[in-house]
């Protein structure tokens, strides 16, 4: 069985600066995988490469065994990979419900049709409503996304990401900037919405990482220096030197 997501010798340079320097990574189906690493290690760039936002310099990316290298983001999304953004990236002048609805339409096969009434599409409405409820924004269903609170926006961000029913979900710092209770809610939400799916997340909060991830990869200077279960990572010497030793300063930021 092919891996859900596989990176083969992925390189990315901006000008002369190499940001991603030969990353090999295989993520199994149903796995919850966290990518950690100090600031500037290239975690967000890695997500941008996987999701097609930036082109690769060299290397290959396989989704469910199929090569998706060089495809446009919308093509990659249609093949079952969805991502969230570190800085909330939603449709500000649409309501919460409409945001979700836009995110489910393609996957339900309605494409660019201009002869069907959106309000008449039962399947779209049911699915959008169930996702709004799942992300606990039922009360804010008809509020414009632009006026939501920060935690609500982050929940919507996750909702828009998972709405299309993609099998591989990439979450970029889903709990960044949240209070402890908000983080706990977010973790419960992530656990809930990614059941039966493959999750890859970038996260700074170690309690989230160690609580949620089946396996962890440590990215330092554009290279994966270790991949393993939380216990293996915790006890890995190289990781401790390169990364966990700086955890205190990371979190105080």
């Amino acid at each position: 069985m092919p891996a859900a997501l596989e990176l083969k010798a992925v390189h990315k340079s901006f000008g002369k600066t190499a940001i991603i320097n030969g990353v090999d990574l295989a993520i199994e189906k149903g796995e919850r995988h966290a990518v950690i690493g100090p600031n500037g290690a290239g975690k967000s760039t890695l997500f941008n490469l996987i999701s097609g936002r930036f082109p690769l310099s060299t290397g290959n990316i396989l989704l469910d065994g199929q090569d998706i290298t060089g495809l446009a983001p919308n093509e990659i999304n249609r093949r079952g990979l969805a991502r969230s953004f570190q800085i909330t990236n939603i449709f500000a002048k649409l309501s919460v419900y409409e945001n979700i609805r836009c995110a489910v339409m393609w996957s339900m096969g309605y494409r660019y049709s201009f002869w069907k009434r959106v309000a008449g599409l039962r399947d779209v409405a049911d699915r959008a409503q169930s996702i709004v409820d799942m992300i606990n924004l039922g009360r804010r269903r008809d509020t414009l996304a632009g006026v939501l609170s920060y935690a609500e926006l982050r929940a919507l961000e996750i909702g828009v990401t998972i709405a299309g029913g993609a099998n591989v979900i990439l979450l970029d710092e889903p709990t960044a900037g949240m209070s402890n209770t908000e983080t706990a809610d977010a973790v419960a939400l992530i656990r809930n919405v990614t059941q039966g799916k493959t999750l890859v997340m970038v996260e700074h909060d170690m309690s989230v990482v160690f609580g949620l991830a089946d396996r962890i990869s440590v990215l330092v200077y554009g290279q994966v220096i270790a991949t393993g279960t939380p216990e293996e990572i915790r006890s890995n010497k190289a990781v401790q030197e390169a990364y966990l030793g700086t955890e205190a300063t990371e979190e105080s930021e």
């Binding site: 999701s51 936002r53 446009a72 983001p73 919308n74 999304n77 249609r78 969805a82 991502r83 953004f85 990236n89 939603i90 449709f91 500000a92 002048k93 649409l94 409409e98 609805r101 836009c102 995110a103 339409m105 393609w106 996957s107 309605y110 494409r111 660019y112 049709s113 201009f114 002869w115 069907k116 009434r117 959106v118 309000a119 008449g120 599409l121 039962r122 409405a125 049911d126 409503q129 169930s130 828009v160 990401t161 709405a163 299309g164």
Partner: protein, 425 residues
Amino acid sequence: MAYQPPPLIHRKRLLTWGLTAAVLIVMPLIFKQSFALSMMSQMGIAIIFALSYNMLLGQTGMLSFGHAVYFGLGAFFSVHALNAVGAGNFHWPVTLLPLIGGVAGLFFGVIFGYVTTKHSGTPFAMISLGIAEMVAACSLMFPTFFGGEGGISTDRVVGNAVMGITFGPSIQVYYLIAGWCFVCMVAMYALTQTPLGRMANAVRDNAERARFVGYNPTHVRYMMLMLSSFFAGIAGALAAINYELVTAENVGVVASGNVLLMSFIGGIGHFFGPIIGAMLVTFIQSALSNYTLAWLLYFGLFFLVMILFAPGGIASLITLHKPAWEVAQVRKLVPSYIVAGLAGAVLLVGVISLIEMIYQVETKAEQSGTEMSLFGIGFDAATVMPWVVSVCILFVGALLLWMASRYVRSSWTQVAAVINARRSA
């Protein structure tokens, strides 16, 4: 949780559209003068054109400076089709001529849209302008098709009368325009409620995110541009029938700018905004141009003031009052509005007299001297006094308006407090 789709036709919708249709039907029975009728015909055409423009600007976030290309080319193709029908080379009912215009518009939308919609934002705006200039320059190169300076004229009365309808009398043309206007309004509104229409809004808000939910924003923009050029072509065909003349001006940059002004003044954020804008601007253009040669300047100033102080257009000024209306607080705002209106009128008098005096002295003096009259007062613009008075009025008006704006603001603060209190209750 079984979802029940809302009925396609419900009471509120039936009322809105029924009322719109009724207004379209009844208007010429109330305003029977020929200039009123021709103005209403113009309004109908402008409404279709402005709504089609807003499919780009308001709904998809594409600022086009070349939308008249589709309007004008639609008009040219229809006028040639009409002439062919007149010559007996081609059979097509005049009633359905707008379809020919629409298809012509669509055809050029397919071609030009392919080039322009690969871009968005400012590059799209510039390229649309470049295409408009290109078509305008071409229009002078091919006189056989575009008719050179004089344009192409036609006769809309062709073939046999069907049930007494010849489209000779302008009232019949009005009803033709009104009918198409109604159909196009419904169609364009319906379009906003489809998957494509909703995704156009999503692309407008955040094209990148649209990509990450599976949609290609370029494709959405392209489709919206094609559909919008179809409606623009319909409007162009109606213009050809209405005026029986199509000139190179119809494809020109000025015409493109005009539809932009209409939509923006009306309000691009609401479906009905461009309708208001089209009616108001058409009215201003025909009414004001009778009184002063400087009307374009007043019009431009009005546009600039709207951008600076009410970028949402008239539609947003109306909807701004919806919450106040719901808690029955609008009457608390009325006194401050009256005061502000009076202060604005004083300022306006100052501006108008200065502009008209400059105009008299600089441009009209050679023919008619510097004697003039404004607001029923006769004076000589070559003397100092009227200038001093005008400048004083201007400053007093500005001062009054500044004070009035504070009054309006404080009234709004009170109303907002009531609204918030009701909301949290």
